[in-house]
């Protein structure tokens, strides 16, 4: 008894000591990062709800049924095993220990053993999945491509070891009880139900039972403690880190609005910034400690990577590899961060290992045209921690955030790095500068100017009410925010006319801002140009507040997101509806009656900023479904899993010359459903998908009759077929 106690204690102290030292080290590194943003309030209620949903019920994991259920079993297996582990630890000093009350019952032992076996079953599933989906077989298409493969296998092996050694110990314990203390054989009631432990009891030698009991007890604790140490040094950190990470995550999700720029936890005032304020993230420690926690929590599961439009079109961006790269860099740079600095804020020569000094000297984002930059199976190479093209390939579609089971905030991190590049360095894909200049001076990304903002309405068959500087009259129900595309892009102008006509048809009184409207600032903000965004937002909010706007209807998914979710940050609080929501309501209320049959197979594409970012999935489908004759179809990737058109994140305004074109990939997916109409609800998606479909039409692989159009235009065909031609002629 003494020997096993001393050995057990020694093992425990050593292993927990190592793990604790590692945890303290990570904590100290985290302290070198920025404090949390002042506006990130973690309210206990939503944190608890999130823990229950994401951790306890594994909500996001279960979206992928097979690996989800397997993970659920391992998670709950370990939760139940905790009891067994407690029993084992106390077994060090008290061989016949049983957990009070429940320990008396056979069913308790049964449950413990059942979950242990289910855990093993899950391990078998994981093994099969890992073999099937090995990067060796699937290459870039594998979600594990770029993950640490060896350590992942080791984790599976160790979990297996933890389970069987615990069961073996319990088996040995049963033997010991029965042989040495027959009078007490009934005492540990739970062991009667511990059927798997009994199997071990049956095969273990019946001699030297106490020796075997001690042996397996120490072995199981050794395996467990060794595993714990390994965990704190590996991607398996998530078993601890995910709990605080979920608690401190942005709620309801890190999608929709972007946060303003913070420095030292305070919002930066662009009118009068502090001299030393750093805008965005230029060094890894400019992330908040929640950022570091994100990096440490990543399980390398690759769910994000499997959905990423950039990755799936062979671009050098995988959200997983990006997060892993930031983690590796943070840890490699840690000695530098923790080292004592001299007065100039530098680490004295030789004060830290050379490798750490070299890592600290690396720019966070590499230069444009860096030939050595590569994102591959073994992570990232190149002059910067994150290659230039990796940073700029992101469309901010949010598919990664949507998928991540541990609530990592990829889009926020990417935009924060872009912010530094744009605001502090002036470094970004050059062609996007044209858009920024246009937005700044002309008020729209094309640079056409305010004077052209009403031309779209010239062929309307009714008088459009235009805001002229006085308060919006009371009889106006909605302010119609036409958006730059709706006002200026030829295809989107058709949508603007269709929506205006439908509203008029339904008897909805509405008004447009005309020349007083300008770009919402979405492309500037997604590019990281927060200053320009703030300027535009404040200017628009001033106009809207002066006009007394209360309810706004929008046709662009990006405008919708900005007006509804981001303008409150600058004092603009409105009730914003997307035109598809409003149209669905008008149809349901019988204020619009689709009369004409539209015999067409319609495939609907979910715009990222309408669907994932704003959860509007049903309304556009309701509108399409309400039209007699339509057959509404889905692409394989739909709703939450919709695949980006390639225009978001200001990518619309940048060249796309790496890999396959995203819009082509999506257009091909749509064409594979054999549609007559591909419908979307955002002008940028429509431009992108039109281009992709036109390409195939030119090549002769798609029917020339396939049309790409807005949901409202399909509805117009049914409600006012007589107007379709006059409103779709370009003006």
């Amino acid at each position: 008894m003494w020997v096993r106690f001393v050995l057990g204690l020694l093992m425990t102290v050593v292993c927990l000591g190592i793990a604790g030292r590692r945890a303290f080290f990570l904590y100290r590194v985290g302290q070198k990062f920025q404090p949390l943003e002042a506006e990130r309030r973690v309210d206990a209620g939503s944190a608890v709800r999130a823990e229950v949903a994401e951790v306890a019920f594994q909500r996001k994991l279960l979206r992928w049924t097979v690996p989800g259920v397997a993970h659920f079993l391992v998670f709950w297996g370990f939760m139940i095993l905790l009891f067994t582990i407690v029993e084992a630890f106390i077994g060090l000093v008290k061989a016949d220990f049983q957990i009070p009350i429940v320990g008396n019952f056979a069913w308790f032992g049964f449950i413990e053993d059942l979950f242990a076996l289910l855990c093993v079953l899950a391990l078998v599933v994981f093994t099969i999945l890992r073999i099937q989906q090995a990067p060796k077989n699937l290459g870039r298409r594998s979600r594990f491509f770029g993950s640490h493969i060896g350590p992942a296998w080791f984790v599976l092996f160790m979990i297996f070891n933890v389970v069987w050694t615990l069961l073996a110990y319990r088996g040995a314990s049963i033997n010991a009880q029965e042989l040495h203390d027959p009078a007490n054989a009934d005492k540990m009631g739970f062991l009667h139900g511990a059927f798997a432990s009994q199997w071990f009891a049956a095969i273990l030698p019946k001699t030297n039972v106490e020796f075997w009991e001690t042996f397996f007890l120490l072995l199981s604790l050794g395996v467990l403690l060794g595993f714990t140490v390994f965990v704190t040094y590996s991607k398996h950190m998530h078993i601890f880190a995910s709990i605080p990470n979920v608690a401190f995550a942005r709620r309801p999700r890190a999608l929709g609005a972007l946060e303003p720029v913070f420095w030292q936890g305070k919002k930066i005032d662009f009118e009068d910034p502090g001299d030393d304020d750093v805008m965005g993230v230029g060094k890894v420690e400019d992330f908040t400690w929640k950022g570091l926690l994100d990096f440490a929590t990543c399980t390398e599961c690759g769910r994000c990577q499997s959905q990423c439009p950039a990755w799936n079109t062979d671009k050098p961006l995988s959200p997983k590899v990006l997060i892993m790269g930031l983690r590796d860099h943070s840890l490699a740079k840690a000695p530098y961060l923790l080292a004592a600095k001299n007065e100039a804020g530098e680490v004295p020569e030789g004060g830290i290992p050379e490798a750490a000094a070299a890592e600290a000297a690396k720019p966070l984002v590499g230069p444009q045209g860096d030939e050595s930059a590569h994102v591959g199976e073994h992570g990232i190479t190149g002059e910067g921690v994150i290659p230039f093209d990796m940073l700029w390939s992101c469309t901010t579609c949010g598919a990664c955030v949507e998928q991540c089971p541990v609530d990592i905030e990829h889009v926020d991190h990417i935009v924060d790095m872009r912010r530094y590049q744009v605001l502090m360095e002036g470094a970004f894909p050059e062609e996007a500068g044209i858009m920024l200049n246009n937005v700044e001076h002309a008020g729209d990304p094309w640079g056409l100017g305010r004077s052209k903002r009403l031309e779209w309405a010239e062929s309307l068959d009714f008088e459009l009410r235009v805001y002229e500087g006085d308060k919006i009259p009371d009889d106006v129900e909605y302010l119609y925010w036409v958006g730059c595309a709706g006002a200026l892009d030829d295809t989107a102008k058709r949508t603007a006319r269709a929506v205006a006509t439908l509203l008029h048809e339904a008897g909805v009184e509405f008004m447009v801002l005309g020349e007083a409207e300008s770009c919402t600032g979405d492309p500037a903000r997604r590019m990281g140009h927060e200053f320009l965004f703030q300027m535009l937002a404040m200017q628009n909010v001033e106009v809207l507040n002066e006009a007394g706007a209360k309810r706004i209807v929008v046709t662009c998914a990006h405008c919708y997101n900005t007006l509804a979710n981001e303008y409150p940050q600058v004092g603009g609080h409105y009730e914003v509806v997307h035109h598809t929501t409003l149209l669905a309501r008008l149809v349901a209320d019988k204020r619009l009656t689709p009369v004409q049959r539209v015999d067409a197979a319609v495939t609907y594409h979910d715009p990222c900023y309408l669907g994932r970012h704003n959860r509007i999935f049903a309304a556009p489908r309701e509108v399409l479904g309400a039209i007699p004759g339509t057959q509404v179809q889905e692409m394989p990737r739909n709703r939450e899993k919709s695949f980006c058109c390639g225009a978001g994140g200001a990518r619309m305004w940048m060249d796309e010359n790496l890999g396959e074109r995203i819009n082509q990939n999506r257009a091909d997916e749509a064409l594979a459903t054999k549609p007559d109409i591909v419908a979307a609800a955002c002008p940028f998606c429509i431009t992108m998908l039109s281009d992709g479909v036109a390409q195939r039409q030119q090549e002769g692989t798609a029917a020339t009759t396939v049309a790409v159009t807005d949901v409202s235009e399909v509805l117009l065909r049914s409600v006012r077929p007589d107007l379709v031609d006059s409103l779709s002629a370009s003006s």
Partner: protein
């Protein structure tokens, strides 16, 4: 070597312009900006400073109070300081009197090389650099698509439809540059903040010794008689090809004297 860049704060070309009762553009009613064409000159000056060719870069503008914003934009791209000639009496000046004010300001400030854009995006006259050269009696080299400065002389490439000329002018000289010289950089926010700390000196006509009666609307060499909106575009002609399409197109062009 000291470079002075002439820049103009113009009404935003894509906006709707309104005209004041005196038929000048109502500057209060329209946003303004640093003329896009002048940004090329600003960029060239910034590059010459970065190459160590220029030791000092100064931006000079003549314009209303808000023209200082144009100077700030230029200072965000590069340069050391700026001069703003601001005087109510200048309102409505024509190119000739503007060139007088600029010449006087240049004399007062001192320069080795003067850079300017190829034209302003509002009046689009392209004559001011030549007028300034004449008033100062210095060399001029206009419409430079490329420029370099070497040992007391500036050399430019000047492209026309038929030839590409290489022209060299001894300093002091004035050079106007075209959009061929290369897009101006997009200033980072840090540079914009930095620009706020660079000095802008304001001079009045009196500071320059220019008599107010020599400039302004009254002294203008051209007079605006009337302002009316551009007539709306008329609908185009659509030719449907019924086998005769080519002939119809040719006919359309022939009618208008294109072929």
């Amino acid at each position: 070597m000291k470079i002075v860049v002439l820049v103009k704060y113009v009404p935003e070309p894509t906006a709707t312009w309104k005209f004041a009762p005196d038929l000048t553009v109502d500057r209060a009613g329209v946003e303004g900006r640093l003329s896009e064409l002048d940004e090329y000159a600003v960029e060239q000056a910034a590059q010459l400073a970065e190459k160590g060719v220029a030791s000092e870069v100064v931006f000079l503008t003549v314009g209303p109070a808000k023209a200082a914003e144009g100077l700030r934009k230029a200072l965000a791209i590069g340069g050391d300081k700026a001069v703003h000639v601001l005087d109510d009496a200048i309102h409505g000046s024509c190119a000739l009197s503007t060139s007088l004010v600029l010449a006087k300001a240049l004399e007062k400030e001192g320069y080795d090389l003067v850079l300017a854009g190829m034209a302003s995006t509002d009046a689009e006259l392209s004559v001011v650099p030549s007028m300034v050269a004449d008033r100062l009696g210095i060399n001029q080299a206009t419409f430079a698509g490329e420029l370099s400065v070497d040992g007391g002389a500036v050399t430019i490439r000047r492209d026309s439809d038929v030839a590409s000329e290489k022209v060299t002018a001894a300093l002091p000289a004035i050079v106007s540059v075209t959009d061929q010289t290369g897009e101006a950089r997009y200033p980072a926010f840090k540079a914009i903040m930095g620009a706020k700390k660079k000095p802008i000196t304001t001079w009045s006509l009196a500071d320059l010794g220019v008599d107010a009666s020599a400039v302004g609307l009254g002294a203008a060499s051209v007079r605006t008689v009337d302002v009316s909106p551009t007539p709306a575009r008329t609908a185009g002609t659509i030719v449907t090809d019924d086998g005769e399409g080519a002939a119809q197109l040719a006919g359309f062009l022939a009618d208008r004297g294109f072929i």
